[in-house]
Symmetry: C3
Subunit: 343 residues, 3 copies
Amino acid sequence: MKKTLTELADYVGGKVAGDGSIEILGVMTIEDAAEGYITFVSNQKYENMINETKASAVIAAPHIKNSGKPLLVVDNPYLAYAKIVDLMMNVKPAHPKTIAPGATIDKNVSLGNGVTIYPNVFVGANCSIGDNTVLYPGVYIGEDCKIGSDTEIFPNAVVYKACSIGNRVTIHSNAVIGSPSFGYAPDGKTYYKIPHVGTTVIEDDVDIEPNTTISRAALGETRIKKGAKIGCLVAVAHSVEVGENTLIVAQSGIAGSVKIGNNVTIAGQTGVSGHLKIGDNTVIGGRSGVANDLPPNGVFLGAPAMPIKKMRKCYAAIARLPEMRDTVKELTKKVATLENKMK
Amino acid sequence: MKKTLTELADYVGGKVAGDGSIEILGVMTIEDAAEGYITFVSNQKYENMINETKASAVIAAPHIKNSGKPLLVVDNPYLAYAKIVDLMMNVKPAHPKTIAPGATIDKNVSLGNGVTIYPNVFVGANCSIGDNTVLYPGVYIGEDCKIGSDTEIFPNAVVYKACSIGNRVTIHSNAVIGSPSFGYAPDGKTYYKIPHVGTTVIEDDVDIEPNTTISRAALGETRIKKGAKIGCLVAVAHSVEVGENTLIVAQSGIAGSVKIGNNVTIAGQTGVSGHLKIGDNTVIGGRSGVANDLPPNGVFLGAPAMPIKKMRKCYAAIARLPEMRDTVKELTKKVATLENKMK
Amino acid sequence: MKKTLTELADYVGGKVAGDGSIEILGVMTIEDAAEGYITFVSNQKYENMINETKASAVIAAPHIKNSGKPLLVVDNPYLAYAKIVDLMMNVKPAHPKTIAPGATIDKNVSLGNGVTIYPNVFVGANCSIGDNTVLYPGVYIGEDCKIGSDTEIFPNAVVYKACSIGNRVTIHSNAVIGSPSFGYAPDGKTYYKIPHVGTTVIEDDVDIEPNTTISRAALGETRIKKGAKIGCLVAVAHSVEVGENTLIVAQSGIAGSVKIGNNVTIAGQTGVSGHLKIGDNTVIGGRSGVANDLPPNGVFLGAPAMPIKKMRKCYAAIARLPEMRDTVKELTKKVATLENKMK
């Protein structure tokens, strides 16, 4: 597929600076780009590479000037880049829209139109699966689940019984939805296992990356709200609520009964202790440990997490702690000397 | 199922305060409870909700008074709640107790009575599987494994060859038992892979959550002792020993050859360095990094882990480090001024 | 299999100190060893056990003297131990070298000689699989993948479409290779999913442990170079490059576009922020958080990571912070007293 720069600018709602008639073959990264390709700059770190890249054109924000190369100028270059890749390069797989002979469909399962079920899939009794949904090989869906339309569940992902999965949801390989959470009542000698009769609800447009576990509630539900995105190797415990369009990045862990607002970002390897509330629009930096409720619209970092400016000062102070210790020792001596002189 | 409050109190060994004749339909959380249901308070944080909940009765500890609602008074409300849910709401699945046609059972496998093997399971040669054990779809059991009775292995979990799994063990989806651990001998140029001819032993009544890996020993064994519970996304390396009734919460990692005592609790996202010993009954707070042996009966926190009271003081001091730095700077100036005056 | 101590010394290029004619039945750990077995000491911590072990001989470095037991003296005891275990105890599985009836092979797949494909495997269209490669039960290989020779992919591991896997690669159970990474362009209201049209390349002799995810690039490639070893539950994001013979230990996370040099060691539970560079031969201690580029040949620790000597001083200072705070408070009072006296 070839497109002129002007055609691409029109497609993403941008403007051309330079020759709009050049033909673009596709998108490449700024480091690897070859002649005939367009690239993009969305991270300041790479802006100085515009003059070095071999790309024939660059998708760039309005503040980029005088590159010497044709530009596709747009307010959100990252979004424009994604749309152009989708247009020119993203070949969607053609699923057979059939039930493979090697799949097992238990009794009383309702299948929508255009559903694809690959070999070695197991769908438990009383499930319903919406139109055009794809279950890749090795997927397991427990009994009494409701799966929406246009949803994709990738190989070997597992959905335990009686969960609800929305429309246009993506669940990647080896993710586990609806397993019982880590709950044990000590009985004096050993542990009584908490029965998990609640469920997990994954709303529309949620993405869940590989090897992530979203546990079910003991009572009630664990709920991942519309448009939330959960990275790989994340642990979401029982009764957690994740707000709309919230992002939880790889290897983070959310303990039981935490309520996370809308449009929150939780960066990678963060932990949130149980029963906390995190307000809307709050951002939590990577490797943080959240031990208290966090208000909306804040930016937090560290373990225990603090407002990011304060935490950065603490980090700087920690790096100079050994020198500070020496200073304090010296001051102690000097003060003792002064005290002696004053006696 | 309906039960009177008195019947439930008798069932869990508690007492009724108020009208014991009311009929209970089931258990709900204190936030969501509707009329006709019983709820429970086991976390102090929720005690003040007793007067707000719509539940018709509350399972509560003896110190809760005057709620205005009928109470089921019991020393351990959390345990009582779990038992009542099991009694009234926990529908156990009815497994077919057959070998599905789509399963593969290699030669010389011994199967107990009432075993259920679902489709797409693979059981290697020379395995034995005890009575009433359930292997869900997609489970893989390598050759020469011994699986006990009344054990459940959930979809797509994997047990490598020659492991031993006890009775009443639960292994959740996509957990991996008995894979070789991360062991490489540098040979000057690259690495020589350490052969892992040891095994993994999972004793009776152990639970292992989804996506957790319990590696096998290079020599000898990795052993998870009776009643231990291992959370999701945990890494347990070669030759580790986890004591009886010990809890290891989600995303923790235990490096090679660590010996953990009985009744230990290791909270989430903790790391324990190799070859350490952790004494019985010790508790390690979340996100800790254990770099030294820990004695029994202690409570530790932080990275590197310290006694929790000390660590909390350190956290408090870190939060005030920037101010302290300012104070030290000011003191330095003042002392210099004093020294000058004294010259 | 029995070997004399002299035969074993010859096999690993070492020397015997003591009676070389004794017969060795196999290798056991120093704690568990029985008469007739050889053990080894590669960790200083265990050197004092040489006199306690029941082993009949010990593989030891030249600095070990006067043990009273026959020694197999060799510069690298750990390597020698691994080679002897491989020789005497490591029974390699005999794979059937056939395609199991329960496997699904899509159209236009090229299979080398001696390939074993177990039941419930799915191989997508247009894949090629090299000689003697083994795909264990439940493995999924997406379309257009190239898998090398003598490679083993363990049960339920998943390789997404259009990835390239080298020769003598080991991918353990439930690892996920080539899934799209966590990439979303905010469009003002919600997120536009970044299409991932790049790939993942796993070069020769790479090992990937269970439940690890190696994401594909959005454009270009994620590349794990020859001989690198990736531990379990590790997250490697889009466009990362991991150098030759680099080790990344369990539960570490590498964010997008990080470039890691050759022979680097990243210990467990470490996080590396996006777009960073880590130089050759650098070592990063466990639970570190890398927030800046790191030069080659260094040793770093902590979060944020610092040179290890400095970080250790900081840790020591943190442990004494509460006392230091008291000292500073006292100094403040004393200085105020002195200032008053001087007025």
